[in-house]
């Protein structure tokens, strides 16, 4: 009986927020999604709310939780709460696009109306436009720089997906914003003793992780012809970089330093120039 009581208490206690790992947040999200699909809207809201309050949830995780909560509130006809939750979504990402696949016209209208009120110049059909000057050639094993410019739209993330021709899966690398709406990354294609073709496409995402624009596509990638190139084999290290030479030099320097310190009064000069200062000469 005692064991049953303890178990009951353990199950009843909410998980401590500091016990929530990213994987645990995903579990909450999956559970909330399942409850939502089973039309258990109250339970879905209850399950997902901790995700929206967890500082470690990623922006995309928080947005997913908030959208499911807002949809649940909307379906339960709690328009005030739905509006407040949608406002939180738009505070995080003014360009947010709903993930909802129900196609509910009433929901779309509600969300679009809210956006029009809150976001100046809101265009419900807005996506994003990207510009990219594709590199024409490169060398395997050597860094390759890519730059993309966002000429229109609210882009939160840009990634480049690359693969060697013949491979099935892409590896993605994020681009970093550099101002003037230019994004930049440096990728290093795998080294190869033979030339090969690197395939890639660029994808723009909103804060929720949804794709809003692409340059090329997974099944129609851009191509860069790479010449053969291997990882540089390190040249023999000069004798003076070997650890025992450096260690010996440090020991000699330390000994000399000790002699100098012992030979003078007071502490040695500081490491910051001018080494010594006199407060009031």
């Amino acid at each position: 009986m005692a064991r049953a009581l303890i178990l009951l208490v353990l199950f009843a206690l909410p998980a401590r927020a500091d016990d929530v790992s990213p994987q645990a947040i995903e579990l909450y999200l999956a559970r909330g999604q399942k409850l939502f699909e089973e039309q258990e809207y109250g339970a879905a809201i209850q399950t997902l709310t901790p995700v929206t309050r967890d500082a470690r949830a990623t922006r995309a995780q928080r947005l997913r939780a908030l959208e499911l909560i807002a949809l649940s509130q909307f379906i339960r006809n709690d328009k005030g709460a739905a509006r407040a939750t949608f406002e939180r979504i738009l505070d995080i990402d003014p360009g947010y696009q709903l993930r909802d696949t129900s196609g509910s016209p009433a929901l779309r209208q509600f969300f679009d109306d809210l956006k029009k009120q809150l976001i100046p110049g809101y265009d419900p059909h807005a996506g994003a436009d990207l510009e990219h000057a594709a590199p024409t050639a490169g060398t395997a094993g050597r860094a390759l720089e890519l730059q993309v410019r966002v000429t229109r739209g609210n882009v939160f993330d840009l990634v480049v997906a690359t693969r060697r021709r013949g491979e099935l899966t892409y590896a993605t690398s994020p681009l970093s914003p550099r101002g003037d709406n230019r994004w930049h990354t440096r990728i290093t294609p795998p080294p190869s003793s033979k030339p090969y073709v690197l395939e890639y496409y660029v994808e723009a995402r909103d804060a929720g992780g949804a794709t809003i624009a692409r340059i090329a596509a997974p099944d129609q990638p851009l191509e860069i012809a790479l010449t053969a190139g291997a990882v540089d084999t390190a040249a023999p290290r000069p004798w003076f970089t070997r650890w025992y030479v450096i260690g010996g030099a440090v020991a000699v320097a330390a000994s000399l330093g000790g002699v100098i310190v012992l030979a003078t009064q007071g502490p040695g000069p500081g490491t910051l120039p001018p080494g010594t200062v006199t407060v009031t000469p």
Binding site: A17, D18, T52, R53, D54, A55, R56, A57, R59, R62, R88, L90, D91, I92, D93, P94, L118, I119, P120, V150, N154, V155, F156, S176, P177, R178, G179, D180, N181, R182, W183, A207, T264, Q265, G266, P267, G268, P269, G270, T271, L272, P273, P274, G275, T276, V277, T278, V279, T280, P281
Partner: protein, 438 residues
Amino acid sequence: MPRFAAVAAVVSGCGSTITLEIASDRPVPAAIDAICVGVADEALDGGHFGRLYPIASLPQTLRVQAGNADAALAWVRGDRGGVPALYVSAPLDFGSDVTLDLASCQVGGAGDAAPRGAAVGPTGALLAASHGQGGTLVVAIGTAGASVIDATNGALVAHDTPAPPPGTPVSILAADLDGDCDDDIVVITSGAAPLIWQREGDEFVATDSIGGAAVAAVAAADVEHDRDIDLVLGGGGNLQLWLNDGAAHFTHAAAALSAAGRVSAISALALGDLDGDANADLVVGQANAPLTAWLGEGGTFVASDAVVPAIQLDIESLTLADADGDFDPDLAIAIRGAPMRLLVDRDGRLEDQSFVRLPQPAPIAHAIAFGGWDGGCEPDAVIAAEPGAAMLRGSDLGVFQTDLVAPAATDVTMVDIDDDGDLDAIMATAEGVIWLAR
């Protein structure tokens, strides 16, 4: 005016020589990439040394010889991306070596915050904290006048300032404009061009105006990495970078920053290295227009739509400071007539986490200040609001917990006003400037 003439490099020590060490457990250069080290005679007519050093590692040391000084004050400002991140000071009695520790864990007293002494200075003021020879001071400017506030014998005292420029005070900023590690003041009013008050010991002297027109907001950072503090001024749809020649003389660099039609009603500015590239980035708040940002590129700024969500707010003030203990600057936004927001820096992008980290409903604030002033390591916050708002204690979950309610106030700064080694909250109230300490 720096008094480097009073400082001499010496080649040998004497009996009153100590080693001043600047240490930190913060990552270098990710969290601190420069330090400004100041040493000054306790006697205000004595010598003064101050110098900014880019650093690749800590600790660093300086041998300090008393000369004719009986006692001195040493202080260090840790910078990140050209913007001050924290200050530490300590007295020097020349009896033993001293370490100024720019610790990642900044703690204060464990007790409750309580007022010390009586209110002094102007009512409903704007505040700026200034570090330098003579210790830490706060400059308060209100519609009825201005005062330099110091702490003596457990109470605040007010001293005179130069005559404020005409017009209503709009903003006030403290920054080391002449490279001596003392914080000077920039006063912004509605009726005059920004005016510099240069710090001399524990007093201020009015010097130059910047530009020829009144502005609405100012922010400071070493934009071009030439070891002096530059200024960004903004108002209406106009945004300007003014470059410092190192002696607090400024030149408009029109090609380096332009509003380019992206803003129309600037009301607040903030500079901080958001993306960790060692360059100060610029966040621009507006009156009922979207929040916007420019990324610093080591001397120029380029517009970026990816840094901040373009949320439309009526912004009263912006505070870029580390609110979550990761050394990156986060953005606290005081909004006229609406609850404050907290945008957390995540990989160079500011994300609205107001509902996650702030107690709800969040207060309607005039200004927000961050700093470690309770027994825990996490940054805490004090909010200037009318009526008063609960002070916030940082927690290891990253969520602020409410504490006692602070008095109603128009501005707040967290600073070690009594130079005792821990932070105090200085608030501008309808009765004058007050001091809260733990």
